[in-house]
Symmetry: C2
Subunit: 493 residues, 2 copies
């Protein structure tokens, strides 16, 4: 990965670097902390805080400068300037990542390259069901631009009001619609990328089929800014469903929930667009900290499933199909009870209940988070055995277990016992609990990072747990595409 | 790409290589042509013809040997042996490819590595909707194994009775179900691969979400055996649709066909599983050479669309939806007439009509084939302008234009004028006609290889037409993963 690290001083004076960056993007778009201004006119003391600290406030770095290029050509120039001055680059979108992948280290030598000014929607082709957008577009803006044409861009996640599509692609974001539409990777047909040499890969494409050589697109997607900088992408759109229905159902075990999923898939096919699982404690946390959120089928002792069905026929047909499914599930003993939202407001409340869990959990106190995935068929045995192992290790610890069951993705989080000091619990137990959980994940054929990526947080864990041949290949790819280690060093690999 | 080419003699005697291969896989699985047996007991004059000549009989090479390992470990050993003896390897599945990618060159030094004996279905996980199969499984056997569990493996193409899943993945095969289910790439969750060092990448995975590092899987998929040898894969399965309906409709222009596609997508959503286009001449060729195939809506003067709808509800609902769609299309003036198959036999006849076009075309004589893709929105203008350009260049030439309109994929083939010598036409005009077609494809933002790959046939064309930055990156990836140029040299890049 090259012989330059972020801790080596740049070979030329920092002033030269800053001047060259100002030449590339204009001085109002080169931000430096107070005392390190790039020249006259550069805002001093502009507060780089938002760029230097991650969303979870777990990492706080120090940047040499933050640059905000306005178009692809300027991104390429910034890369060339940084390569020349041997300053490493941390690409940044909406900076909402959860693994510290977009935050600079504390050397004070790195350049944060913010894509936020690349926020144009370049083209929407309704007949081709595609849309070409720049990396800095906010996800919600992309959704809204599609909706204005009665089309759907289905990527949807909690941070959609502030995350950018470039970041979504760089981290291969998941979210709540993966069951039907796939991850960010499956929603992208082509990418425009600035390489480590400051060249522009013209990979935008509105094609569903293109077998002209190696799949460069998917190599950049999910590489977390370590192989190249995605500056624009062509995205897949879908017809807007004619009706969307949401239901809540309760069952006694994850085993039942998996059986319900199989039934729902067979009955609803591709119209099944959401299948979320919540354990009882997840819902109790919401009831405790966010009592204003309605709680249907309450009190709850077992497991809850949130189902969403998106139909192309119409509300009446959709309702009939969903009710037939739930009736069959009741009859087969797969669920205890069910409630179908009878209007849009009720549907939103059900989703709100599911989406409020992370917030309620934060209110309850610090906890140990795991974003894991497993084969769906192995989730019941994973939950049963890992819950037991954790109780044996630390009696009374509380599991906030919820997630996208349809994708095999659980947010399997561990909270301190009732009344215990959360900070002390985190400090003392995180490493041992991670080991118990990740060992179990591996034993069940799962992944230690389902949708949040590796970044800084899980880099060491990955080095220990990933197949050695895979790790070796990844390092070779990094060396091949970024031989001098210019892009986001010490992240991922 | 390494300093060894297939035309250099191996540094050690060929006998050593053959002995080592026999040690790796057993003598009955090392085939050599007559006069070059690997030792006693090796079948002599076994006829390597099937391994040395491609399906279209366009290329005929000469192999040093054909080896048929029986499991992944033996594949790894063969790779190690070949690396040691500096013999390059041509991986081969069902050998049904159309671009010469699986056929050895004529040096007589290459080893053909046939995966056909790796034909076990390792696991089927119904709750997880996945299936792990070895590379040499015939596609149809994979489909049938899924169907035995009432599940669907949707990859479907003309060669399914003889092509292998390993070859399908190595070439990122397309076929008739891409509109709904995607290409081979989208149907694969993980791969097991033997690397150029003879190591085994344990990349099998039944996970829908896994963000632990770079996407190695998609790099091997579509690399046509030039980066590694896929030995097994975990595939996505789907519930078997409750009903499948097929219809034929006629319209006057590609423009109308594109408008019909948009309407069908909006009305049928994900239940629209097939949307094929045929020009009048395609159907006339079938009528001329395969008169036993029924021709509904005949005679035909314009364009025909084959629609397929796969529904999870039931035959009655499906029929109603399809008829409502066709009624709306008639009313909107998008189609002239339509016929819905009223039973399975009729549906098969409609598909047979579509699938017989290549055969009818071959009966008519040699022709110039183009497997291209375009943004769907640009297909009408592409067809109009390119048809006109070809008529201007060579008056009377006949266009056999058919394909997967839903994916933007056309098989845009050019046949000699009625009565002209096909061989002479091919010889004299192929290069100029390719230039006209491929220039038009590029001008319309399309691809010169939609689903068949590059192989040998389009390698020079790719070198001229692909984005230079992309080509440079592809060469770096080849050098990084196969530094000595062991795998399928002079193919793709």
């Amino acid at each position: 990965m090259g012989n330059r690290t972020a801790t080596q001083p740049p070979p030329t004076g920092g002033g030269d670097l800053l001047n060259a960056l100002v030449q590339a993007v204009g001085e109002s778009h080169v931000l430096t902390g107070s005392g390190s201004g790039s020249g006259s006119g550069t805002p001093s003391g502009t507060g780089l805080e938002a760029y230097e600290r991650d969303w979870r406030k777990r990492y706080h770095g120090r940047a040499r400068a933050v640059v905000r290029p306005g178009n692809t050509q300027e991104v390429a120039q910034v890369v060339q300037v940084c390569a020349l001055h041997r300053a490493t680059i941390v690409p940044q979108g909406g900076h909402t990542g959860l693994v510290g992948g977009g935050t600079p280290d504390d050397s004070g030598t790195q350049v944060v390259l913010s894509l936020q000014r690349l926020n144009r929607i370049r083209e929407l082709d309704a007949d081709n069901l595609t849309m070409t957008v720049e990396a800095g577009c906010i996800l919600q803006a992309v959704q809204e631009a599609a909706a204005a044409h009665q089309l759907l861009f289905p990527l949807s996640l909690a941070a959609e009001g502030s995350c950018t599509i470039g970041g979504n692609l760089a981290t291969n974001a998941g979210g709540t619609q993966v069951l039907r539409y796939g991850n960010a990777r499956e929603l992208c047909l082509g990418v425009e990328v600035v390489t480590a040499e400051g060249q522009v890969l013209q990979g935008l494409s509105g094609l569903r089929k293109d077998n002209t050589g190696y799949d460069l697109r998917d190599l950049y997607i999910g590489s977390e800014g370590t192989l190249g900088i995605i500056t624009a992408a062509t995205l897949k759109l879908f017809p807007m469903p004619a009706a969307t229905l949401t239901a809540l159902a309760t069952c006694t075990s994850p085993h039942q929930a998996v059986a319900l999923l199989a039934l729902a898939r067979a009955r609803l096919g591709a119209t099944l667009t959401g299948f979320e699982l919540m354990n009882a404690f997840s819902r109790e946390l919401v009831a405790r900290h966010l009592p204003q959120i309605p709680q249907p089928l309450w009190p709850v002792s077992g497991w809850s499933v949130l189902l969403e069905q998106s139909d192309d026929e119409g509300p009446a047909q959709a309702q009939q199909r969903l009710e037939t499914l739930l009736g069959a599930a009741l009859e087969a003993g797969l669920i205890e009870d069910a409630a179908v939202a009878s209007n849009l407001a009720q549907a939103r409340e059900l989703w709100h209940l599911r989406e409020a869990i992370p917030l309620a959990q934060a209110e309850e106190g610090l906890n140990i988070k795991h974003d894991i995935s497993l084969p769906v068929s192995r989730i019941p045995s994973f939950i049963e055995s890992t819950d037991a192992a954790l109780q044996a290790f630390h009696p009374g610890c509380r599991l906030v277990n919820f997630g996208h069951l349809g994708d095999g993705n659980l947010h399997y989080n561990v909270q301190a016992p009732e009344g215990a000091q959360a900070a002390a619990f985190l400090h003392d137990q995180e490493s041992a609990i991670n080991r118990i959980v990740y060992d179990a994940v591996q034993a069940h054929g799962g992944s230690i990072s389902a949708e949040h990526g590796i970044g800084r947080l899980k880099r060491d864990e990955l080095a220990q747990r990933k197949d050695a041949v895979a790790l070796g290949l990844m390092k070779r790819l990094k060396a091949a595409l970024d031989p001098d280690g210019l892009f986001n060093p010490n992240r991922v690999v």
